[in-house]
Symmetry: C2
Subunit: 129 residues, 2 copies
Amino acid sequence: MTFLDKLKFNADGLIPAIIQEQSTGRVLMMAWMNRETVQRSIDLGQTVFWSRSRQKYWVKGETSGHVQMIKDIAFDCDGDTLLFQVEQTGAACHEGYKSCFFRSIREQGKTDVVTEPQLVKPDAMYGKK
Amino acid sequence: MTFLDKLKFNADGLIPAIIQEQSTGRVLMMAWMNRETVQRSIDLGQTVFWSRSRQKYWVKGETSGHVQMIKDIAFDCDGDTLLFQVEQTGAACHEGYKSCFFRSIREQGKTDVVTEPQLVKPDAMYGKK
């Protein structure tokens, strides 16, 4: 039984993939993969996701250059979540932060604060629209 | 606008919550919450999840004693994923491992290996059935 056969994809054929920066332990983002993009990620050595809104696959960093080189792939006890260790170039977040999780909550959920610097302006990443 | 109003729950009213051990950076598990269990987690200071299979909420560690004390709650740019920093007592995984992600793949997805020790036998956590 291969690794792929141990995975459980949801009703839409998708599985969540948590992306963690190996060198710092920072959780960068969570995105979705289907069976095909898991295999593409393995073959390419970079993360490839499935876009639910655009219904197509996308190589992370294809436009911005902010690619994720895969160092390790783990999966959980239920086989329904993936955890990738990566080397991240630049900002993982399309808003220009290293991590998409750049906001934390305060005061029992009433407010939130930005917890890390913005590395780059989104306009500079994707070209001004 | 409160933090809860910034979150996007899916069609089933759920949002994925990534749980990370604050002291080590180890990603322990991913589970689901609904609006009510996010609020319960905040109020209790411990993680409370929604069980999709049992259709009821559960306080993590209620049976095993392996609770997760919340140290920080972050949310991502799209507001559709949560990241909790916790202090984990014992094993987060129901199979007795610290992390549910105790298996990594090898040889381009053909095989997988266990990457951490089993801390406790599941029988000892929940009582022999």
